[in-house]
């Protein structure tokens, strides 16, 4: 039984105006197979949490821990975290000119598994996953994310999620910019990975829309760098009706606290 634990996480980021404190003590436990939605207004630190888990060098952890099955994730490099079973579906996936999707997927799979996948089974898996995500087979020979539409980039992220089979996936606003058809396709991909591999999911979103297709076990409301409220799926329904307004007072108060 795998578990991803985040304990009292404080994260700073360097800006031109100096150091800013973004996360101010986040506690979260995600067990294998659980789906947690993190919801919150813009600027509340949701993406910072995502990138900190993945190990982006821009974010400095000043206090707290992230543990994967008891192992200290913060001591791992970005690639070690991925190999340990953490996956980040990015909000803005970057283009890698000259590197085809096929080559990229095979390189990543080889890195994660520690050995090259058996050719025949691998090609079949890639084809099947692409077909499930309604990706044209021509995608395989295109360069990673180069000239992809927003929806194509997100599908490509979920394609990797399905093929790399991590233990935990952080989905950073995977729903943003998707039309309803693409949203359904992407959600089905996440649900498939969840059903097939017991994936634990941290679903970061601004809107409740994606929660119609991916049912969360827990909903956490993120305001000003910490969890302001948590509950079950019903909390998302309440947010849909009321928005984040009732948290704004707390947020303003928190913003007034100067960073260290």
């Amino acid at each position: 039984m795998s578990v991803l634990e985040i304990k009292n996480l404080h994260v700073n980021v360097e800006t031109e105006q100096g150091t800013r404190e973004i996360l101010r003590g986040v506690d979260l436990v995600i067990n294998e197979g659980e789906i947690h939605a993190i919801m919150g207004p813009n600027g509340s630190g949701k993406s910072t949490l995502a990138y900190t888990i993945a190990g982006h060098p821009k974010y400095q952890v000043v206090e707290g821990e992230i543990l994967l099955d008891g192992e200290n994730v913060l001591e791992m490099s970005v690639d070690e975290r991925a190999r340990a079973g953490v996956f980040l579906a990015m909000q803005y996936p970057v283009e890698i000119p000259g590197v085809t999707v096929t080559n990229f997927l095979r390189t990543a799979k080889t890195a994660i598994d520690g050995e090259a996948p058996a050719i025949r089974g691998w090609i079949k898996d890639v084809r099947e996953s692409m077909s499930n995500l309604k990706m044209d087979s021509a995608f395989a020979e295109r360069n990673v994310n180069e000239g992809f539409s927003g929806g194509e980039k997100k599908r490509n992220e979920i394609l990797q999620l399905e093929l790399l089979k991590p233990k935990f996936a952080v989905l950073d606003e995977t729903d943003s910019g998707l039309d309803v058809d693409a949203l359904k396709i992407v959600s089905e991909g996440v649900n498939r990975a969840h059903a097939n591999t017991g994936l634990g999911v941290l679903l970061i979103t601004h809107y409740t829309r994606i929660l119609r297709y991916i049912k969360p076990d827990f909903v956490h409301v993120f305001v000003a760098g910490r969890i302001a409220e948590q509950g079950g799926a019903e909390l998302a329904d309440r947010l849909e009706e009321e928005g984040y307004d009732r948290y704004q007072v707390a947020e303003s108060a928190a913003e007034a606290v100067p960073a260290e």
Binding site: S77, D79, M90, V99, T107, A108, A111, I112
Partner: protein
């Protein structure tokens, strides 16, 4: 470097250059030329064609006496591509171009005989000429590559081992011919190689000219292409990878001199290590006869470490208003940390991620070479360059 801005006080050309009060040559085609070394003043390093080069590193080639005897070469056989030596007074010599600087003229003044690579017949074929083990003696060489009308061929002019070589290469592409010439520099670490390459393209002919510079202390390959007749088409490609202490330079000149000629110039380079240095100058002249010209040149550099310098200077001169298109672009960028993060977030180790990105950056040049064997060989050579960090 593309700009549609109106002229401003600071615009290039509106005020005198800081590099001297002399009147610059107004048009690229009017540069001084001569086959005689004595017609060029000794080099100071301030001349526009030398000012980005480490001239002290090869004073023997620009000012000293050169050995003009035949070079040691290894050739591969191909039906329809033959090798022979022709005397200095052969009518073909000088038909593709004339030296515009002293190293080129010094070689021209000194060579004993020219190597003739003769391409005939319409079948595709490939031949290699490898110059190897030239030692430390300063040498001069002259090569003529002649593609007969309507012929097709692929010629690789390679260099390995030690060398101190100044040479001229003339490429004569007959009407309707389709020729690829690859100048492949894989010299030893201490080698110096200065090469002026002149191509003359006949009616409706096509030349793919590729400069690949990987090895050598100073490598300067300057290809000039004269699109002399209607419908001539040049694709000029370049790929270079400069390590610590290496100077790799290319001054590319395309002269559109006839109607409906086309040029595409694409040079890409990577720089890695202290003192890695590259220079790319791309001159395109569209003469007043060259109506319907279609031209585009670009240079991209990928900087992998601190302590490197890449110069990139595109120049475009247009003497007729009636063209299809003309553009240029230049970009020099650092290795993108976000690309690295993306790849590492998929479990790929840092060194392998860097390899992927660099290989990806250079791959569109490699893939355009058009010979699977050579492409595989260059891919391996690029990998080796990356390992050398």
């Amino acid at each position: 470097m593309t700009s549609t801005a109106m002229p401003t006080a600071g615009q290039h050309g509106l005020v005198a250059h800081s590099d001297g009060a002399f009147v610059p040559v107004q048009t690229r085609s009017e540069r001084f030329r001569s086959v005689n070394v004595e017609d060029f003043a000794p080099i100071t390093g301030r001349e526009h064609e030398w000012k980005l080069s480490p001239v002290a590193a090869f004073a023997d080639l620009t000012g000293g006496e050169l050995d003009g005897s035949r070079l040691a070469i290894e050739t591969t056989d191909a039906s329809g591509i033959s090798f022979s030596y022709i005397p200095r007074d052969d009518a073909r010599i000088g038909t593709a171009g004339t030296p515009e600087e002293r190293a080129s003229a010094n070689a021209w003044s000194t060579f004993d005989e020219a190597l003739l690579v003769s391409v005939t017949g319409e079948d595709e074929k490939i031949a290699f000429v490898t110059r190897t083990g030239l030692g430390d003696t300063p040498r001069a060489a002259h090569t003529v590559i002649e593609a007969a009308p309507n012929s097709r061929g692929f010629v690789v002019l390679a260099g390995t081992g030690a060398a101190r070589l100044s040479e001229n290469v003339e490429i004569i592409v007959g009407a309707g011919a389709s020729l690829t010439v690859v100048s492949l520099q894989e010299w030893d670490d201490e080698a110096v190689h200065l090469s002026s390459q002149f191509a003359r393209l006949g009616r409706d002919s096509f030349l793919k000219h590729i400069v690949v510079s990987l090895g050598g202390k100073v490598v300067r390959v300057n290809p000039s292409t004269h699109l002399a007749e209607q419908g001539a088409d040049i694709e000029a490609l370049g790929l270079y990878f400069a390590d610590a202490g290496q100077h790799l330079e290319q001054q590319v000149y395309v002269h559109h001199d006839a109607p409906h000629t086309k040029s595409r110039v694409t040079y890409k380079g990577a720089l890695q290590g202290a003192g890695a240095r590259t220079v790319w100058i791309g001159d395109v002249l569209i003469g007043n006869a060259a109506v319907g010209t279609d031209s585009y040149e670009q240079n991209r550099n990928l900087v992998l470490t601190e302590g490197t310098r890449a110069d990139s200077v595109p120049n475009l001169e247009i003497e007729t208003g009636d063209i299809e298109g003309a553009g240029h672009a230049s970009a020099t960028g650092r290795f993108d940390d976000e690309q690295l993060f993306y790849l590492m977030a998929r479990g790929i180790r840092e060194d392998e991620a860097r390899r992927l990105v660099v290989r990806g950056f250079l791959t569109d040049i490699v893939q355009k070479i058009g010979s699977a064997d050579l492409e595989a060989r260059l891919t391996a050579a690029i990998e080796a360059e990356l390992e050398g960090r």
